[in-house]
C-alpha cells in the first residue's frame, strides 16, 4: 500500500500551490562547542534569508545544547574540490613520510615536545 504513494506525491500535497522546484536556498551550518574550538560543519538546511537560516540552525542543530556559536553560509558561497581533483590534490602527501613531524626523531634531552 505505502509503496504506491511516492514521496513526490506526499511532498506535493503538503506544499500545495507551490511549484515542485520552489525550494528555499540551502545554507551550510557550522557549530562551535567551546570557546576557542573550531566551528565544525554540522549539516545543512533551507532558509529564505540569513536571519531565518540562523534561527533554523539554532532549532535544528543547537536545540539540545552543547553549542555556543553558530555560522550559517549560503551553500553556493562554498568552493569545493571535485572528486576529479583527488589524485593531483591529495595523493602527493601520502608517500612522503618526511612531511610528517613523526618522521623526525626527537633528540634525547629535549622536553616539552
Amino acid at each position: 500500500m505505502a509503496s504506491t504513494v511516492s514521496n513526490q506525491q506526499i511532498v506535493g500535497d503538503q506544499a500545495a500551490g507551490m511549484p515542485a522546484d520552489a525550494q528555499w536556498p540551502v545554507w551550510e551550518v557550522f557549530t562551535q562547542s567551546a570557546q576557542g574550538a573550531p566551528h565544525e560543519h554540522a549539516g545543512s538546511l533551507h532558509a529564505v534569508d540569513a536571519e531565518q537560516a540562523l534561527q533554523n540552525a539554532r532549532d535544528v542543530y543547537a536545540r539540545r545544547g552543547g553549542v555556543i556559536s553558530l555560522w550559517v553560509v549560503p551553500s553556493g558561497a562554498i568552493t569545493a574540490s571535485s572528486p576529479g581533483d583527488g589524485g593531483p590534490f591529495f595523493d602527493p602527501g601520502s608517500d612522503k613520510a618526511y612531511r610528517h613531524p613523526q618522521f623526525y626523531k626527537v633528540p634525547r634531552g629535549v622536553r616539552g615536545v
Binding site: 503538503q14 528555499w24 533551507h46 532558509a47 531565518q52 534561527q55 532549532d59
Partner: protein, 269 residues
C-alpha cells in the same frame, strides 16, 4: 476550618493569600500548557521541516515552563496535587488560561500571529516577574524569559515575512490579526487576584505592562506593513478564561490531551 467561632459576615472575607497565589500560578501555568499543546499539533505538519522543528521546540519550552509553574502551584495549594494531576485531572471549567491560547491552530499565519501576540506578552510579563518578591517564581520567570526572548525573535521575524511577503501571506496575516485582536484584552484585564498579587509584590501591574506590550507589538506590525485592528480592547475585569469561562474549543483539546493519563492513571514509560 476554624470551627464556626467567628462572627458570620455578609461580605465574604478576601481570599487568603495562598489561595490567590495558587490561582495566579494556575493562570501562568495553564497559558503555557494549553498553548504548548496547541503548538504541538503542528508536529509533523509544519510547512517545512525546519519550521516543524522550530514550532515543536517552542511547544516543548512552553511545556517545560508549565511543568515548573504547575508544580509550584501544587505545592502552594498544599493538597498533594502534582503538576500531572493539575494538567490531566482538572475539568475545563477549572482551567485558568486566557482564551487566546486555546483557539484552534488555524492556518500558519494564524498560529504565528497568535504566537507573536503571546510571545511579546510573555516577555514583558516574565521580565517583570523575574524581580518578584517570591523567590521561586522569580527564578522560574528568569529561566523562562530566556526562552521567551527567542520565541519572540522567531514569531516576530515571521510576522515581518508574512506581512511584507506575498499578497496572500499579507492577507492571511491581516485576517489572523483581525480575528485574534479581541482576545488580547483579557491578557491585561486585572481582577482581584491580580490586585492581591500586585499588593503582595509578587506580580506586576498589568495596566502598566499593556503600554509596553502595545508599543512592542505596534512596532513589528507597522514594519510588517500590517494594520492593528484598533486599540487593545479594554475589559473592566477578567471574566473569561481566567475565571474558567472558555470557548467551545478547550474542552475538545483537553479531551485529546488528557485521555491517555485518564485511561491509564499512574502509568509511566
Amino acid at each position: 476550618m476554624t470551627g464556626g467561632t467567628t462572627t458570620p459576615s455578609v461580605v465574604p472575607a478576601p481570599a487568603p493569600m495562598p489561595n490567590a497565589f495558587f490561582e495566579y500560578l494556575l493562570r501562568l501555568g495553564d497559558d503555557r500548557l494549553v498553548l504548548g499543546h496547541r503548538l504541538s499539533e503542528w508536529c509533523g505538519h509544519g510547512p517545512v521541516l525546519e519550521e516543524d522543528i522550530a514550532l515543536s521546540n517552542v511547544a516543548l519550552d512552553l511545556l517545560g515552563q508549565a511543568t515548573m509553574l504547575l508544580r509550584l502551584a501544587g505545592e502552594v495549594e498544599g493538597r498533594g496535587r502534582t503538576e500531572d494531576a493539575l494538567a490531566y485531572f482538572r475539568e475545563v471549567v477549572e482551567f485558568r488560561n486566557a482564551q487566546l491560547v486555546e483557539l484552534p491552530t488555524g492556518d500558519f499565519a494564524y498560529t504565528i500571529a497568535r504566537q507573536f501576540l503571546f510571545d511579546v506578552y510573555a516577555v514583558v510579563l516574565l521580565d517583570a516577574l523575574s524581580t518578584s518578591r517570591h523567590a521561586e517564581l522569580a527564578a522560574i520567570a528568569a529561566k523562562s524569559l530566556k526562552e521567551a526572548k527567542y520565541h519572540v525573535r522567531h514569531s516576530g521575524e515571521w510576522m515581518l515575512k508574512l506581512g511584507d511577503g506575498t499578497e496572500e501571506s499579507h492577507r492571511r496575516a491581516q485576517r489572523a490579526l483581525d480575528e485574534l485582536w479581541r482576545f488580547t484584552g483579557e491578557l491585561f484585564a486585572p481582577d482581584e487576584i491580580d490586585r492581591a498579587m500586585r499588593e503582595a509584590g509578587i506580580a506586576p501591574d498589568l495596566g502598566a505592562l499593556r503600554a509596553t506590550w502595545e508599543s512592542l507589538v505596534r512596532d513589528v506590525i507597522d514594519r510588517a506593513t500590517l494594520t492593528l485592528p484598533g486599540d487593545v480592547p479594554r475589559l473592566p475585569t477578567a471574566r473569561g478564561g481566567r475565571a474558567g469561562a472558555h470557548t467551545e474549543y478547550l474542552g475538545h483539546m483537553l479531551a485529546e490531551m488528557q485521555i491517555i493519563a485518564r485511561s491509564h492513571p499512574g502509568a509511566s514509560w
